[in-house]
């Protein structure tokens, strides 16, 4: 008696009827409160005398109850909710049953750990439909590219702002720290830091000169003197334009891409500071810059590239505006045009400096990089599939067709991984297991009821792999390879 025979004895019943039985009949079957089940039986016996199944008395009684209930009830069940019970009542009997159910429920929930555990396990039984019907869920889309790019942009902006602020506020910053700031913004530079420090020194020097006078250094300093004269008028916007001036000096000096980056940064920093000054200071700053750029012809390409790179790193609107302001000048248009058309120019230029770029570019240049990364892999695969394909075809194959085969295999693998990932995540796993691949092969009609998986393994894989995949019984009650009982089996046993 009790829950055992009632719940598990029905072989002919469908899961649906089984569920309904469970929902209606669960609490009375509690072993700890026997009076209730007995109490219920005479009431039930008073009802329709149909016996659907020739099982034991209590089960037949409860099954008789079912047809009585069936026409009246609405089939959506979440068990143990009193509200629904109330909705479903029509007859006196049902009211009584519901009362008992409520009692039992209260009892089970409060006092009765056994009944509660029972109810919980039955809960599991009751919901199989929903579990089964849950559709395959794909992994969430990875939103990485945008996030990283936005993040890095923000980082760059922050650094620029910090740098501008520090330059504005602290005119006596040590060149070293400034150098570190500047170098930190330009990440890919592999040239000497000495080349950095030079413009940085200029910066500090020129800053002093705003307060003081001429410095004794080289021609760069002379340039800075010029600039300082011009820039003295614009004290407020002095610091960023000093950066620009220094950057120009840097351009003259080394013609290093770092310096030009500095120019761009200077422009950017200038944009971040007050906008009233930039036009004027830019013009004055741009003239010597023009000269400097004229001097270094080979720098222009680098300038454009670097400008693009740096702009790509800090795509602020202010930058574009400022650059457009200085659009009157001859040589600066290279910068200006680059800034103005930074959007469309960015993506093609990205393809060139693909290699040492940070992950930001990695996301954008993903097709390029991925292909290049795959290339060392793909030849390994391709050699194998060329041979395999030839063997299978048994006919001469044109060489161009192998490229098509490679494309097909790429597509095929993409789908394959998607499917396998979907299967594993449906099983709540992050590792693709043998069972997942087996399910996939079933779907592809490679494995059917006539052709089991092992046959395929034997046909196509070499012997070593066969041994790994197909469990073989060896003397001494050993099986090679070991068959591990997965957790899913255990769950079924409990239910």
């Amino acid at each position: 008696m009790g829950p055992g025979p009632l719940l598990y004895d029905v072989i002919d019943d469908t899961p649906r009827t089984l569920m309904k039985k469970i929902i209606h009949l669960l609490p009375p079957a509690s072993p700890v409160v026997p009076g209730i089940s007995k109490h219920e039986e005479p009431e039930v016996a008073a009802e329709e005398g149909e016996a659907e199944l020739p099982t034991g008395r209590p089960s037949s009684v409860e099954e008789m109850e079912l047809p009585g209930l069936l026409p009246e009830e609405r089939p959506v069940f979440t068990p143990f909710t009193n509200k629904k019970r109330k909705q479903l009542e029509f007859s006196e009997f049902e009211r009584a049953v519901s009362r008992q159910l409520v009692q039992n429920q209260a009892l089970s929930l409060l006092d009765n750990p056994v009944a509660r555990s029972l109810s919980m396990s039955l809960d599991y039984l009751v919901r199989p439909d929903t579990v089964e019907r849950r559709p395959l869920r794909q992994r969430a889309e990875n939103r990485k590219p945008l996030d990283i790019k936005a993040f890095e942009d923000k980082v760059e902006q922050d650094m620029l702002r910090r740098k501008a602020q520090s330059c504005l506020v602290d005119s006596e910053m040590s060149p070293g720290s400034q150098a570190t700031m500047l170098t930190s913004v330009g990440t890919e530079n592999k040239q000497d830091h000495s080349q950095w420090t030079n413009p940085v020194e200029q910066l500090s020097v020129s800053e002093e000169m705003v307060v003081g006078h001429v410095s004794d250094k080289e021609e760069d300093v002379a340039m800075t003197v010029n600039r300082v004269d011009q820039e003295e008028d614009f004290r407020e916007g002095a610091a960023p334009s000093e950066e620009k001036g220094v950057a120009e000096a840097g351009v003259e000096n080394q013609g290093s891409p770092e310096a030009e980056r500095e120019i761009a940064q200077g422009i950017g920093a200038g944009s971040l500071s007050k906008h009233s000054n930039p036009t004027f200071s830019e013009k004055s700053g741009m003239e010597p810059l023009k000269d400097a750029v004229e001097q270094a012809d080979g720098l222009e390409d680098q300038a454009v590239l670097v400008e693009l790179d740096s702009l790509e790193e800090k795509p602020t609107e202010d930058e574009a505006e400022d650059a457009e302001n200085g659009g009157d000048f001859m040589k600066t248009p290279s910068f200006v045009c680059a800034a103005a058309y930074k959007q469309p120019l960015l993506t093609p230029s990205l393809a060139k400096p693909a290699a040492p770029k940070p992950s930001l570019k990695l996301q954008q240049a993903k097709p390029v990089l991925k292909y290049s990364r795959k290339k060392p892999l793909e030849p390994k695969m391709s050699r194998s599939f060329i041979r395999v394909f030839k063997d299978y075809a048994k006919m001469p194959v044109a060489t161009e067709s192998f490229r098509i085969v490679e494309k097909c295999t790429e597509k095929y693998f993409k789908q394959l991984w998607n499917d396998l990932a979907a299967f594993s995540s449906h099983a709540g796993r992050k590792t693709v297991e043998v069972s997942d691949v087996e399910v996939l092969m079933r779907r592809q009609k490679l494995v059917t009821d006539e052709i089991p998986l092992h046959v395929l393994i034997e046909r196509h894989l070499p012997l070593d792999y066969r041994k790994l995949l197909i469990p073989v019984a060896v003397s001494g009650n050993k099986v090679i390879p070991e068959i591990k009982r997965s957790s899913s089996h255990r769950r079924q046993k409990d239910a």
Binding site: R139, F389, A393, M395, K411, V432, E433
Partner: protein
């Protein structure tokens, strides 16, 4: 055809496409098996196409046709 299945290459592929997932020990062999069977189907279908076109070599067009016929694409 006693070639070694490129197991490391397969695992790297999965890492590229689906970073969260891993391949269990024998699953990659089965994936390789799947791949071989796919190549076989492709080759046979391409061969049929070539015969139909009465050509003695398998040309790219035959393979494209074959790829379209196989259910995945």
């Amino acid at each position: 055809m006693g070639r070694a299945a490129p197991r490391a290459a397969l695992r790297k592929m999965l890492k590229n496409e689906k970073p969260g997932f891993r391949l269990s020990a024998c699953a990659d062999l089965l994936v390789h098996l799947n791949f071989l069977l796919f190549l076989r189907r492709l080759a046979e279908e391409a061969r049929t196409n070539a015969f139909q076109n009465r050509s003695r070599i398998i040309k790219p067009e035959h393979i494209i046709l074959a790829a379209k016929v196989i259910e995945h694409f």
